[in-house]
């Protein structure tokens, strides 16, 4: 079966190549584009690396939907590069205006009826940012990359690559990318039971040689003032330690802060990330003495895991399987 798929793959790659020469692909660095042999023999890893580069360097406009949450919301992303700096405009297409603009280390949010504000944010926040920021080469320790075959997404010829998780502590993914531009077109999050639990899919993709003039203009606008979030005293921080996190994850944040517009009580906060997913771990004291109670909410790929133990409430939020959350939660100890 696999063998058959591969043959089909080869066939359509060669036909595709003919057409891609006619339409003269743009922008993206494609060192081997002239050499048919190389092009055909791109490995899954090479495709993924090309995708990563394309997503960062091309000017494009993407319309997409995400079907992980409780409703489908069409969204728009306009991405461009100005003097080597990326700019990304995001907008919900239905309902009230909700827009954001990320440029030059800041992201600004504009929402109908609310005052706009900015946050300092160096990390790409756009739709496919996680899958295009991943260190695929080191990622081979935890994922296997397999070319699945070809299909058509948003009117484009696309190739599907499976990132198969090697353990039960992370989800698997299927990435579809445009064979012409290498831009990502679809991302499925796959559970251990092989179900698609979350899907982001392009409906339309337009790649242009030059940046969309409107977002180029936006880059010159003054943005709302940057909002800085209050940090708690450092001596209070790092009261808790994680004795286990899934392989490939790192602790990227460890602090104490208050929740926006909620309790006055600070929470201890740890964020772990493997480059694709970032998981928040909240630890707070609670009055309820109920021990060993846990609750689980899953919406699409997002897990909200809550565990009560010894007047402690642990909440874990992120796109990880329950098994990972459970093991992280039970590894929490008071820091020495």
């Amino acid at each position: 079966m696999k063998h058959q798929l591969f043959l089909v793959g080869l066939f359509s790659i060669s036909t595709l190549f003919v057409s891609s020469e006619v339409t003269a692909t743009t922008g993206i660095i494609q060192p081997n584009v002239e050499k048919t042999e190389k092009h055909v023999r791109l490995t899954a890893l090479a495709y993924l690396e090309n995708m990563k580069q394309a997503y960062k360097e091309l000017n494009f406009e993407l319309l997409y939907v995400n079907t992980g949450g409780s409703k489908i919301e069409p969204k728009q992303l306009i991405h461009g590069v100005i003097d080597g700096k990326r700019i990304a405009y995001f907008c919900y297409l239905n309902g009230s205006m909700r827009e954001s603009l990320q440029f030059d280390g800041k992201i600004s949010f504009y929402e109908q009826g609310n005052q706009a504000y900015s946050l300092a944010s160096r990390r790409d926040q756009s739709v496919f940012s996680n899958i295009t920021s991943f260190d695929f080469e080191n990622g081979t320790q935890n994922y296997e990359y397999i070319i699945l075959g070809k299909g058509r997404i948003a009117g484009k010829k696309a190739i599907a690559i499976r990132m198969a998780s090697k353990d039960e502590f992370r989800y698997s993914y299927i990435v579809w990318l445009d064979l012409n531009s290498y831009l990502p077109l679809r991302l499925d999050t796959i559970s251990k039971a092989n179900l698609i639990i979350d899907q982001t899919m392009a409906i339309s993709l337009k790649v242009t040689d030059t940046i969309n003039p409107w977002i180029a203009q936006l880059s010159e606008k003054r943005i709302p003032e940057v909002l800085h979030l209050a940090k708690m005293d450092v001596e209070e921080a790092a009261k808790w330690q994680l004795h286990w996190i899934p392989e490939g994850f790192k602790i990227v944040k460890n602090d104490q802060h208050k929740l926006m517009m909620h309790d006055i009580e600070p929470v201890s906060y740890i964020m772990i990330s493997d480059g694709i997913v970032s998981v928040s771990i909240y630890i707070s004291s609670t009055q309820s003495s109920s021990s060993d109670q846990q609750s689980i909410i899953q919406q699409g790929g997002t897990l909200l895991y809550t565990k009560h133990q010894e007047k402690l409430e642990v909440n874990i939020i992120g796109e990880i399987p329950i098994a990972a959350a459970e093991r992280v939660a039970s590894s929490i100890r008071v820091a020495k």
Binding site: T67, I107, N114, S121, Q199, M261, M271
Partner: protein, 176 residues
Amino acid sequence: MKEYAQDLSSLIDNELDEETVINEILEDAELQQQFSRYQLMGDVMRDESNGFDLRIDVTDSVMAAIANEVQKDNVVPLASKVKPANNVVPFMKRFGQYAIAASVAGVVVVSSLMVNQNSVTDPSVTPVLSTVPFGGAAAPVSLQVAPSSTKDEIKEQNERLEALLKDHQLQLQIQP
């Protein structure tokens, strides 16, 4: 001051027959502040207070600017008085839209799905509720609640989870 407060309230609503309370207000800074706050409540209820700093008060600067301009005496008397236009929002649907402010764009809203389970001996049997990811007609599969939880407890817990989820979204935005 207290004694005028109810009159102040009626005055604002055009429901006061005697004008003397206006004199009182004009002489009492505290009553003037109260007058402003009473107006603000209505403006907030009608959702007419968006996109600017509510603390800004231009009264003093306006009064200073017009201090030297006395209105001429030969004014045209008020001709006819008509029923005031209704400055009121048609319906109160907008109510509560600020229930939780400071939203981060793209926040996932949790529905009221909750499962409590007592002491998990076998983790594999932990029930999981998930929304249907496809088709857009996602609905809660079912709602199970530990018998000990009251409605209020669930509500409180959900509010906390929503706050955590928003914080999570926020932390993702400012992630190093």
